[in-house]
Symmetry: D4
Subunit: 251 residues, 8 copies
Amino acid sequence: MDPQTLKEMLERVREGTLSPDAAVKELAALPYEDLGFAKIDHHRALRRGFPETVFGGGKTPEQIVAIVERISGRGQRVLVTRTDPDVHAQVLAVRPEARYHAAARCITVETAPAATLAGRVAVTAAGTSDLPVAEEAAVTAAFHGAEVDRFYDVGVAGLHRLLDRAEAIRKADVVVVVAGMEGALPSVVAGLVDAPVVAVPTSVGYGASFHGLAALLAMLNSCASGVGVVNIDNGFGAAHLACLILRSRRS
Amino acid sequence: MDPQTLKEMLERVREGTLSPDAAVKELAALPYEDLGFAKIDHHRALRRGFPETVFGGGKTPEQIVAIVERISGRGQRVLVTRTDPDVHAQVLAVRPEARYHAAARCITVETAPAATLAGRVAVTAAGTSDLPVAEEAAVTAAFHGAEVDRFYDVGVAGLHRLLDRAEAIRKADVVVVVAGMEGALPSVVAGLVDAPVVAVPTSVGYGASFHGLAALLAMLNSCASGVGVVNIDNGFGAAHLACLILRSRRS
Amino acid sequence: MDPQTLKEMLERVREGTLSPDAAVKELAALPYEDLGFAKIDHHRALRRGFPETVFGGGKTPEQIVAIVERISGRGQRVLVTRTDPDVHAQVLAVRPEARYHAAARCITVETAPAATLAGRVAVTAAGTSDLPVAEEAAVTAAFHGAEVDRFYDVGVAGLHRLLDRAEAIRKADVVVVVAGMEGALPSVVAGLVDAPVVAVPTSVGYGASFHGLAALLAMLNSCASGVGVVNIDNGFGAAHLACLILRSRRS
Amino acid sequence: MDPQTLKEMLERVREGTLSPDAAVKELAALPYEDLGFAKIDHHRALRRGFPETVFGGGKTPEQIVAIVERISGRGQRVLVTRTDPDVHAQVLAVRPEARYHAAARCITVETAPAATLAGRVAVTAAGTSDLPVAEEAAVTAAFHGAEVDRFYDVGVAGLHRLLDRAEAIRKADVVVVVAGMEGALPSVVAGLVDAPVVAVPTSVGYGASFHGLAALLAMLNSCASGVGVVNIDNGFGAAHLACLILRSRRS
Amino acid sequence: MDPQTLKEMLERVREGTLSPDAAVKELAALPYEDLGFAKIDHHRALRRGFPETVFGGGKTPEQIVAIVERISGRGQRVLVTRTDPDVHAQVLAVRPEARYHAAARCITVETAPAATLAGRVAVTAAGTSDLPVAEEAAVTAAFHGAEVDRFYDVGVAGLHRLLDRAEAIRKADVVVVVAGMEGALPSVVAGLVDAPVVAVPTSVGYGASFHGLAALLAMLNSCASGVGVVNIDNGFGAAHLACLILRSRRS
Amino acid sequence: MDPQTLKEMLERVREGTLSPDAAVKELAALPYEDLGFAKIDHHRALRRGFPETVFGGGKTPEQIVAIVERISGRGQRVLVTRTDPDVHAQVLAVRPEARYHAAARCITVETAPAATLAGRVAVTAAGTSDLPVAEEAAVTAAFHGAEVDRFYDVGVAGLHRLLDRAEAIRKADVVVVVAGMEGALPSVVAGLVDAPVVAVPTSVGYGASFHGLAALLAMLNSCASGVGVVNIDNGFGAAHLACLILRSRRS
Amino acid sequence: MDPQTLKEMLERVREGTLSPDAAVKELAALPYEDLGFAKIDHHRALRRGFPETVFGGGKTPEQIVAIVERISGRGQRVLVTRTDPDVHAQVLAVRPEARYHAAARCITVETAPAATLAGRVAVTAAGTSDLPVAEEAAVTAAFHGAEVDRFYDVGVAGLHRLLDRAEAIRKADVVVVVAGMEGALPSVVAGLVDAPVVAVPTSVGYGASFHGLAALLAMLNSCASGVGVVNIDNGFGAAHLACLILRSRRS
Amino acid sequence: MDPQTLKEMLERVREGTLSPDAAVKELAALPYEDLGFAKIDHHRALRRGFPETVFGGGKTPEQIVAIVERISGRGQRVLVTRTDPDVHAQVLAVRPEARYHAAARCITVETAPAATLAGRVAVTAAGTSDLPVAEEAAVTAAFHGAEVDRFYDVGVAGLHRLLDRAEAIRKADVVVVVAGMEGALPSVVAGLVDAPVVAVPTSVGYGASFHGLAALLAMLNSCASGVGVVNIDNGFGAAHLACLILRSRRS
């Protein structure tokens, strides 16, 4: 209920076509998002430009198929993360346009044209083992409408490979940096670019990497300013944050 | 050395006024940032709009005074974080314009007018004990040229106080959320706004807060997307990231 | 042996029908719970209103069937937690009234009518992945005789869904709050209700959730007072504590 | 604004003495707690029976004095935790009725008679070093209006001392159990009583107690059901939860 | 080489039947344990009363069979821990006297009569899930020659069961106490007996037990003196230490 | 009340000089340790040979003086650990025989001749920084009546120093091994001796020693069997366990 | 491009056969390693003596076969670590000279004669379970061209076995020490030799070894100087470091 | 006793000037290092080229003065680490040649000319706060006789500063890399040089650096091979290892 609707209701009270008792009851029953002055959920409308996402981890193929059907049935685009080819096969049976992104372990269903975001996201990854997380970020950002450039295998132990790409990386408006092991790449990249850096630690490594803890701590302690960190292996979350940053550019 | 300068040098080689040997020597001696094709440090020029910052923690008053003098002597503005009134008194002796921000434990020296950033940063804090970190963020963002709105004492245990401010917080282009103890505030705020959220865990708490670890883990595991986390108590880093996001809006 | 029985024994000593030697021997052989002044186990009788529970985790189907048979053979109701349909099938062979609660992964055998507890338990859960733990709590509380209301998918990132249910949640005498990831829900709920809150962290999450540690620490550090925390994924324990609170209302 | 007030406002709209525009504006300006249908803060009224509490840790004496003056100036009783005799001396200067509880490190200011809670809280502590936390719990519970019984120095290494008090402890409606070191006492007490147990780990211990972590983990893993755990050293929180449980008995 | 042998060698030097050069060579080639004054390995002889033990975890059945054959081929008794019925079947093929202890997951091969140790070991366990570890301890201690009494299912939440056995437990010369979850049992037992207590934390539990860490920390922080702790699930090590204590009684 | 006393009481009942009612009352009032059949505290009598110990850490000098006076006033010997010369000076004022052991930071008051234990305790320490803990163990063991041999500065990095003392260490019936840093000494010593080893990790070290955690974990994972571990820096506890082992030799 | 090439290019500019514009373009396009003055990657040439290594963990057999083919197709030798016989079988199909080192879980393909390193590497291991890691180190060092001596099963609990080999170990120029459980071996070995020690903690152990953390911390806290530590189970890394040390001997 | 001396003793036995009994006694009394075939301590002689070092942390000024006097009284050079100017003043009173290295917090007493090591050690440090640890390493290496080059303030966030020094760093035979915060520098440096890298994490940082844990884990997980790690803040240990590597070059 926007202020106009509220005013119309009050006009009906004044006109006597709505009793005060009925108006009290009606007001009490309204969801918050319909109250012009509360607008708790008003942002949902603004966000609608972003496609819906299903975290596939821990869900059965049946559950995923059902959710995808429901969302795409409303004409909305949908992204499924942390999934596999078997699930894709089942989704394909009901949504022939479903596409599987093997490296990213994601399914996308494009039931509508994507909105576009003004800006470029660079997805930078240290090693080849970090690719699943990097691709999850890249596919997500592209699905959200961003232009995405990939810079892979630019780990800090072979600095020249990173420096060779530095000019290209600097073209991005936001840089997502994915790294496991010692997690040094975001610190180095943040020193090379002027854009905000979203750092994603990965669970790549063994022994004292403690499933990504080493990389996570390194990124939180970065000697370079301008780095925001997301959860271990959270490629989706990094891309989502990057796209929020891009979108804030249009407002 | 930009491409033009390089070309001029090569012209002198062609003209015979510079010998190839001398040219080799000159090229080898150049710092990277002067080579048009390397530009490793080219971004420093772009960044000059941001004031220099001195991390005061662990430095002696003498060291801080010396650094401040050197920077402001170049006509540059400077921010000192994690400092105290005694250091301010000593800085005041050499820079009368130095100002102490007690709640933020920061000194600012305004030797030049600040550049302005197009955009608003909301600094939101859960409890009164989180204020030093929140103020460090607010003072930093203001010093970088952002418009800053403060929303303090809006912890999740008294949700109405936060909801009362929700409309105002939504006006921000970036929201810095500061919280200790259980670190729940960024998750709740990220659900209420559309802007990127920079989350700062604080070491406020006792017992099983483990000096901010509880809040840090909570923020990394936020069920709301669009949250980037910085180090515990790192108000400066959060504001710096927020201002990078704002600045990327102008490009 | 209650004081009366003891006195009667001593009367027999006085009468000479029981020798002092025999009395010493008899006293020494008594279990503690029969001594009026020791009563170490007296509370077991008081507790009999609660059904017996078998923790199914790590037990073989044969062990579970045997225990269930023994308990229900005494005419007592029994609850098996952390079990699966295969075990249920085997229990069914000997106890046809055994019922499987799939979402809760529990078996209940109702060999007797449940005692009722005066009061309502609200079971509140943040996300759909938290449901197994939430259902374990709900099934347990119902089996103990409480009235149970379920409030699921009310995570803090979509606050309006929680606020829409706030009035209903406030009707509960005890609120069990189940959440994984950042574990913020108990803090928010405890700020909305006046009843005691029993918080259950779940192992839902990945990366820096460290199998529920993040949620656990968040709950222990809740900025809202009135929250008691149980072990990670311990839905049964939370419901048991909630029912103890309800029962204390009758005394 | 309760429903009656809302209805009266709507009556004025119907009567034409209040224009719809003015009504819209008035409704929008209302705090949530005044809206009969929102009632987000309605519970605050219900809670008013509990005195206000100031966490003294990290606050300056001046801040504490100011807060105490403001609260007691409204005629409300106030409790200050984690404080010391110096702060008490300063509070005494403005509130002569302020009383210092040395063992609990608390100040109470009784500007009004306490409400009473129907029920007894037993505060049980393992060792003499746990007394500050136990006393914080006991003073808090008494200040909230509960009847409090203290059972100190009943650690599990001298079981007979605990068993000697078991009968008396069983008289309580809620048992707060305070223990450091190995944190075993709540498990043993929960096996002896039928009431809910609120367990408080303390930072008492050294070496591998890791400032209370050992006791905290022990309590979370209690083999006895019916135990809710609060943060390390959080005597206040335990008592607050215990009193919420007692109060729920009256409803 | 004991001093006597050394002296005899030197006599031969004096007699001229052994040249100094040959003696130097002979001395240099001696293993340490043969030098009367070094005796680094002299203790191995003393220890021979204890059977050899093979830690089966991580070894292939073939490796275990080979080791068992070699040891029992020398006429020595051998114990295999952390093994399973399949390995037993293969051992049985070469050593028909091999016996499998299912609850302890151990194989024993009795190729010689056991030495006996003067003394009793009580093996005490909190819950039924702790039995594999407790049985490993019990089988080990019996195999080493001790008299072993088992006291199982005497967890601290049902104190009367433990107290009923207290007299019997006190008869032991060493008490091995096995417990998972909160690990409280050793503290309680050490308060009831005068014998040394060897505490074994088990990985039984879930969530915040962190695979036995909670129990381990509890045992290290025991408020009762006289408790020595071994590694998580190390039933063998506990029994070995207990038997060393018993054997020291004979010296 | 031992069985004989109980029987005498029952004789009086038979003789009519004690009424059954009075006997019931008398039996109910008895502490557990006086009941021949309960004997929960019977072990205290057996333990009386060990002096009482006061943990000085965290106690005020006044508290320590009061406790020492009370204990020694009963004619009992007393040991105060974790104390300092100032406390000793105050104790000296009331107990002139109080002696301060500077290296051990202990006070002993010998109001009675010590009982002797049959056996030797070797106290072995890796580095000079471990001496306070080692001396606490040595002073405690001597005060309990054991013969104590000290072997200090025998860390594993200079193996010959340890091997030079190996013969002498082997004479001990129990070996207490104290080590910080990498905590390797107990593993090496346990390989050299046949006696039980009580290992004490110390908080000596820096950085990744994490206040003794490194040494503690090393000792729990010792590749040598026969090692029981106590808490970090717990020299007293180690000596107490060692003396329990010695005493069990006499029974 | 070395300085000579650069000079030649500049000569062509002087001669007029290369225009300044073309020279600018050519210089800008050069990879860093070709610029005599930058030489960022110049070290790669120096390193060429070391064979390339493929970390097999987490790669598919197809990926490994492809990488091996590419490298050995260039005539270079290649080492695959963390692999298995199935992968070897597939590699064998394309490179018949591929050899599988079962204990080390490595494949080597010798397409060229190995360079030799002047020096010996001793690989020392505590227990038989540490062999996979030790063999990975030994195979790597041999493949790099070092002479390798193996000293296995020389754990500190049986010191004589280690001392018997001490003379032989001292012959090495670098000692790689591999140990799990308590990780004491590097400290003892570093005290026996004068060469640098590279310590490799292994994940061998259980319970409180926490997958190698105990051994890692022990090695970092070694009381013996001259120990450098690599990641848990990182046999390859240890050998690589050892060979770098050897190679630095030739320069 | 070298083989020659042993042979001479045996000659005397043959000649009858030494009785076998006396020879047995003499052999038994010999320290291990004098036995040609044992040589356990033979390496000490080889090591004598390195000066003795006193870890000043936790020692009183009196203890340090006494140790320094004793060592330098034998004509040996000595290094004291982790000390301060006050201690230096006291040492100066007895050894006027004692020199204080303020940045390194070290004292050196040069009672003899230093041996020289053939080779250069580069000490590289990320930030100015890392200087105390870096200087401890530099002073130690110089005192051991190495040529030392310092490269400070070359953190990875300003990569050009490091790259500008890369050529110079490559001249070193061993590189010590000191870094706190995210600990990325060793990974980057190891990618730039061919020499072995000794990495020293420092406790510089705050919040989630956890006193150097973040940097430590990063270094252990370095994606660059050829890195050996020492304990947090252990500048001395790093330099000692570096010098062992240098010295092995001479053999």
